[in-house]
């Protein structure tokens, strides 16, 4: 059986769901950031697959490169914020670091 567009899209969908699941269930801030990365990469897989199989141009692959770059920027800022959370609260558990409430 040849590997086609559908296989890639299914992988993308699974990755997206896993990423969302991690973000919703994990309490560790760094795990949550990793979940966000999974969501971004699921979109990347879609772009590259669509670009290869259906659109016939490289726009999708260029998009994926930009997403990778922005994911790095976001991770840098995210880790800086997590570090500042750790300095103040001495934990990176997002539920323990909760002072803003209704």
């Amino acid at each position: 059986m040849a590997i086609g567009l559908t296989h890639y899209l299914v992988i993308g969908g699974i990755l997206f769901t896993l990423g969302l699941f991690i973000v919703l269930t994990r309490r560790n801030a760094i795990s949550i950031l990793m979940g966000v990365e999974l969501i971004l990469n699921s979109a990347n897989i879609n772009y590259v697959a669509f670009s290869h199989f259906s659109s016939g141009n490289v726009e999708g692959q260029i998009y994926a490169i930009f997403v990778i770059m922005l994911a790095a920027a976001e991770a840098a800022i995210g880790l800086a914020i997590v570090l500042s959370i750790f300095q103040i609260f001495h934990t990176i558990d997002v539920e323990a670091a909760e002072t803003l409430k209704e």
Binding site: L9, I32, L40, N46, Y63, F66, I77, T99
Partner: protein, 492 residues
């Protein structure tokens, strides 16, 4: 016209000037000891950029940089709005004690970079550019939110903002990838043509729009993507809260109009837009609009922290603004643009009074406003009453005129139920706005309440914001004319 990179540059001065100011600020911050000059320098850069933007009116319209961004009246309008917002916020920051603890150079650099992102959000005509501009605004907003040193609320707000923002923009590009798959292009003009040929699966298209709305809706603060807003508004430094509530909200609305109108709808006769047939999108937006304004107003009722209360009121106002989108015609869009300008003025004014009170007392809860008018702050208290009544939509203030145009558009579009819900919501909102006014004027101060003195830097700004709020409520003709002119899209 469709310009190449070099030809585009002469229509690109506002962005070039702003980018240059950002870079010069970084260098100035390194060489200059007296950090006080940085704020006027940043303001000067914004003023020059504003001048360049105004110069571009009436020159020409077209795609720039190989159809990456577009130059038309709509994008120019949002450039003017973002620049006005950032100029007023810079002025507010100078008079705010909270901001003095932050590294001045970094603060103004990141603030202007965020404005640059807003420029592109309003003018991008390519899915890649839309994502990049949205992320530029998001990333800079995370930094600004968390910029207070060793402050629990600020860091926590930044973390929450980052997580919600990451998921929302991740979902958005996932949805965009489906659009790309269905149309084979990232360019808005091509997307519109392919989608209107009617071969795309309706259900897939609806799901893709839903994912994309998560990204836009998170910027413009629509339910159910609003959860970050109360925490972030409370934790961020107050000028940044003000900036996010008007600037980033307006940019979110801009990118949304740009995508859902010129990119996927056809402009029909008499200013009516035809959405893709078979996709029940407008009715979905109608639901979102009603839920957003109702939830925002109901949650605002019990709030004790004024910044948090204004956050919920901001959610409610996002719901009002969304009403103009539901009717799918130019009347609604014009009403939205008008309301955005009015909301910018009155909301910045309300946050300015929050800064004045928090400068004097260090507090942001409603109790700090007890008898404010009798504690040497009669002018700020009066101005606050004007801003709050304008937010509630009472005549003869600007907020009333803005709401009137929105309601008129909805009633003309025969969405009577939506109009009734919106009017009930306005009545609910009057309660919590009037509660603050009552606390300021009718309650008498306790002996422990400090005097609230005003610094000379904020007094002119207070008048600059209060006078238009009254003025546009009485004589709105010029502003209405301007926003009508601003609704010009370059389509082909």
């Amino acid at each position: 016209m469709d310009l190449t990179n070099l030809e585009s540059l002469k229509y690109f001065y506002p962005e070039i000037i702003l980018s240059g100011t950002v870079l010069l600020l970084v260098i100035l911050d390194l060489v200059i000891q007296n950090k006080r000059v940085l704020a006027p320098f940043a303001a000067l850069g914004c003023l020059l950029s504003l001048g360049a933007t105004l110069q571009l009116y009436g020159t020409s319209e077209g795609w720039l940089f190989h159809r990456m961004v577009v130059l038309d009246n709509f994008s120019l309008f949002f450039k003017v709005v973002s620049l006005l917002a950032v100029l007023l916020v810079i002025w507010m920051s100078v008079g705010c004690h909270e901001i003095r603890q932050i590294y001045q150079g970094e603060y103004y650099t990141v603030l202007l970079a965020s404005t640059l992102g807003m420029f592109f959000m309003a003018s991008s005509t390519n899915l890649l550019m839309a994502y990049l501009s949205l992320e530029l605004v998001s990333l800079t907003s995370y930094i600004l939110t968390g910029s207070l040193h060793h402050n629990r609320r600020s860091s926590e707000a930044a973390l929450k903002y980052l997580i919600y923002g990451g998921v929302a923009s991740g979902s958005m590009i996932y949805g965009m990838s489906w659009i790309f798959g269905m149309t084979g292009s990232l360019d808005y003009a091509v997307i519109r043509e392919v989608l209107h040929q009617g071969e795309a699966n309706r259900l897939t298209l609806f799901m893709a729009f839903l994912f994309i709305l998560s990204g836009f809706g998170y910027k413009a603060v629509f339910v159910p993507f609003h959860m970050w807003s109360p925490d972030v508004y409370e934790g961020a430094p107050t000028p940044i809260t003000a900036f996010l509530s008007v600037g980033s909200n307006a940019a979110g609305v801009a990118i949304m109009i740009r995508f859902f109108f010129p990119a996927v709808s056809h402009l029909g006769e008499g200013g009516n837009w035809d959405f893709i047939p078979g996709v029940e999108w407008p009715h979905f937006l109608l639901m979102v609009s009603m839920v957003t304004m109702t939830l925002g107003n109901l949650c605002a009722l019990g709030q004790q922290n004024v910044k948090r209360l204004l956050a919920y009121s901001g959610i409610a106002h996002a719901g009002y603004i969304l009403m103009g989108l539901v009717v799918l015609n130019n009347i609604g869009l014009r009403a939205m643009l008008f309301y955005i300008v009015v909301y910018l003025i009155m909301n910045l004014g309300a946050f300015l009074v929050v800064i004045i009170v928090s400068n004097a007392t260090g507090r942001e809860d409603i109790e700090a406003y007890r008898g404010l008018a009798w504690r040497g702050a009669a002018v700020p208290a009066t101005c606050m009453a004007i801003f709050l009544f304008s937010l509630a939509g009472l005549p003869p203030l600007a907020g009333f005129v803005g709401k009137f145009f929105l309601f008129a558009a909805v009633i003309k579009g025969e969405f009577y139920f939506l109009a009734v819900v919106a009017i009930i919501n306005s009545v609910i909102s009057l309660y919590y706005y009037a509660l603050i006014v009552k606390t300021m004027f009718l309650d008498f101060p306790e002996p422990t309440d400090q005097e609230v003195a005003m610094t000379p830097t904020v007094f002119p700004l207070l008048l600059i914001l209060a006078i238009p709020t009254v003025f546009f409520g009485i004589y709105w003709g010029p502003l209405f004319h301007y926003t009508n002119q601003s609704l010009g899209f370059f389509i082909k």
